[in-house]
Symmetry: C2
Subunit: 243 residues, 2 copies
């Protein structure tokens, strides 16, 4: 299946807009993807929607593109954050890729009591994964990636209008909660803990917070990244932009 190249650029996009390419971008487009002068591709920048552009200059160290027509307007996902405790490298990459596909506005790695992998977390790598996933899945928006935040501190200073979806391992085997219409239109955050779950203190803190909604994700024990994808699916299908 032939597929159109889709590239993220940090550059304004608009009618007749010219876009200069960096060495890395030129290598990707002309070395790897073998585009030549006159061929078309799609551009996104996270702000101006998706534009069709063509190659006007192709070199080893750079090049230039010219925007022609907007092929898709900007679609911003609902105001949903995914807060997740970092996992092992490939599982974190998986959560990030899936969150972009399923649709979030912001990704926040959180340090919890039982988080093991926070030292090795590379925010620049996560940002690169977010861009790659956005290019791949046809998104016109690129979710923001926050630096690592302490969960306890975030909860201490929480905006109580923002609802929290919390996949509680202690509910395993109990009925799944329908999110219902209660949180329609509100900002939300999905919170996914590390493999070891949340500490008793974290659990108490969450349960004491008014915006917390606990759900169960079935009778088997889900890995953290599976819980993230399942929770995003339930939220998007019930309250999000899958409607």
């Amino acid at each position: 299946m032939a597929s159109t190249v889709r590239l993220f650029v940090e550059h304004p996009l608009g009618k007749e807009q010219s876009v200069a390419l960096s060495r890395t971008q030129a290598h990707y487009l002309f070395g790897v993807m073998r585009l030549t002068v006159g061929q078309t591709l799609l551009l996104i920048n996270g702000i101006d929607g998706e534009w069709q552009a063509s190659v006007v200059e192709a070199g080893k160290k750079g090049g230039a593109l010219l925007c022609h027509v907007q092929t898709r307007p900007l679609h911003i996902p609902p105001d949903l954050w995914l807060m997740f405790a970092p996992l092992r490298k490939e599982r974190t990459a998986f959560v990030v890729e899936k969150a972009v596909e399923l649709g979030v506005r912001r990704l926040i790695p959180v340090q919890t009591a039982y988080t093991n992998q926070a030292d090795r977390l590379r925010i620049d790598k996560i940002e690169a994964q977010v861009i790659e996933a956005s290019e791949q899945c046809g998104a016109t928006y690129v979710p923001q990636v926050d630096p690592l935040a302490k969960l306890a501190h975030m909860l201490d200073t929480w905006d109580m209008d923002r609802q929290i979806l919390f996949a509680d391992e202690a509910l395993v085997g109990q009925p799944a909660t329908q999110l219902g219409a209660q949180g329609q239109g509100a900002p939300w955050a999905i919170l996914i803990g590390p493999e070891g779950g949340f500490s008793p203190q974290e659990r108490d803190m969450l349960q004491a917070m008014k915006p917390t909604h606990r759900i169960s994700l079935g009778p088997r024990i889900l890995r953290a990244e599976t819980a993230a994808v399942a929770a995003l699916t339930l939220w998007q299908s019930q309250l999000g932009d899958w409607q």
Copy 2:
């Protein structure tokens, strides 16, 4: 976090049942997990539920366990098949692991018109992944893995009582279907195509079949393995054992 070893054995489990260990199992339990005589672990065989057992003999080339008490009865997931076109190795492994966690009764790799990766498919590897995921996620049932089947042939001989959930890329951006109560209690199959989607002939064939339910999974384009996890989540939360 200390965690209990959970092992799949092809052996009957029951009160005072002795279980002889193969060389591989002995290496795993005594070499890798460092269990010693008297220590306990959990056993599953996919049939008799989960049993607590203890080590009575630990050797380099074998050993013996003794079952004490059933810790969980057999829980068979709903009659749900996951039919999926094989993907690249690590993405297939991911689909398999997630299907076991989310709960299916049978995994069927299918050869579709646009399936590329079928030659390299190793059913024995998938079976090993299913067992590992079952040990990991606390399941007492181990899903069956079928050999590669031709999709066209399966649809030609389809049992029309079995409902088909079909994540249709052509619906991207249209409302997600609620599965509703229509298929409650019926046997189901979720069908996930390859990255290139289904051929026009396959699409026509599916649409002409009465048991076919098409759903959309949001406005972005999901990778095949994301679609598998999202479809399993929607099905389990609406019609399955998450209720």
